[in-house]
Subunit: 127 residues, 2 copies
């Protein structure tokens, strides 16, 4: 489960051993979800080419889509300037969200009315 | 600094009082940065229409761009399915990254060579 040296040198895991990973559709640009990776999840992602995370609620390695079939093929892994966040650009095989929505961010806040409205992701909105 | 009820009801701050906020260019879809908000930062963002965060390194409220002039006008705030991540869709007035890069995610990992390569954001890549 050791990471390749150049990868390990740039990714800064926090005190829990986790780094947040933004998941973005590589083709539409839609932000699909935010999840967390530990070193084992990052290693498994590299080894398989499919997104793996650390499930904080279940306390275990999580192969995204292992149950639902909605896996995510990882096209590219980016790191931010100070190494404490990752951006995974993926090709999703199905909805990212357990609710069945394409993306977990399906509610937008309306500050004038103090209410949330549901989003349907038209292609132009997802850009 | 109290948040409107419907907003407060859906956003789950962690044990540090923070929620991660993905910042995305509302027009190009480019993921610009990941930062953290506390209730005060979220309230200040609503009040001003410009992105405010909590700087974990400085331990203070951070009006993005207050020094550099590279503020971010917030077009939309989205929340994820379980309320523990936000997505800010913004119009950036200048580069998001303190390095001068458009986005903080300017390095991509090449697993075959175990090296990082710098990205220049062509419009089609940022989609």
């Amino acid at each position: 489960m050791t990471l390749p040296p150049a990868l390990a040198a740039q990714v800064r895991f926090d005190e829990r051993g986790l780094v947040p990973a933004i998941v973005q559709d590589a083709h539409t640009g839609q932000v699909l979800m935010l999840a967390y990776m530990n070193a084992a999840a990052l290693a498994a992602t590299l080894r398989t080419g499919e997104a793996h995370f650390w499930s904080r609620s279940r306390g275990q390695l999580w192969h995204k889509g292992a149950t639902s079939g909605h896996t995510q093929r990882v096209v590219e892994i980016r790191v931010d300037c100070d190494g404490d966040a990752l951006l995974l650009r993926v090709e999703p095989r199905g909805p990212a969200c357990h609710t069945g929505a394409n993306a977990c961010f399906y509610r937008a806040y309306d500050p004038a009315a103090d209410r949330w409205r549901g989003l349907t992701y038209a292609p132009e909105e997802a850009a």
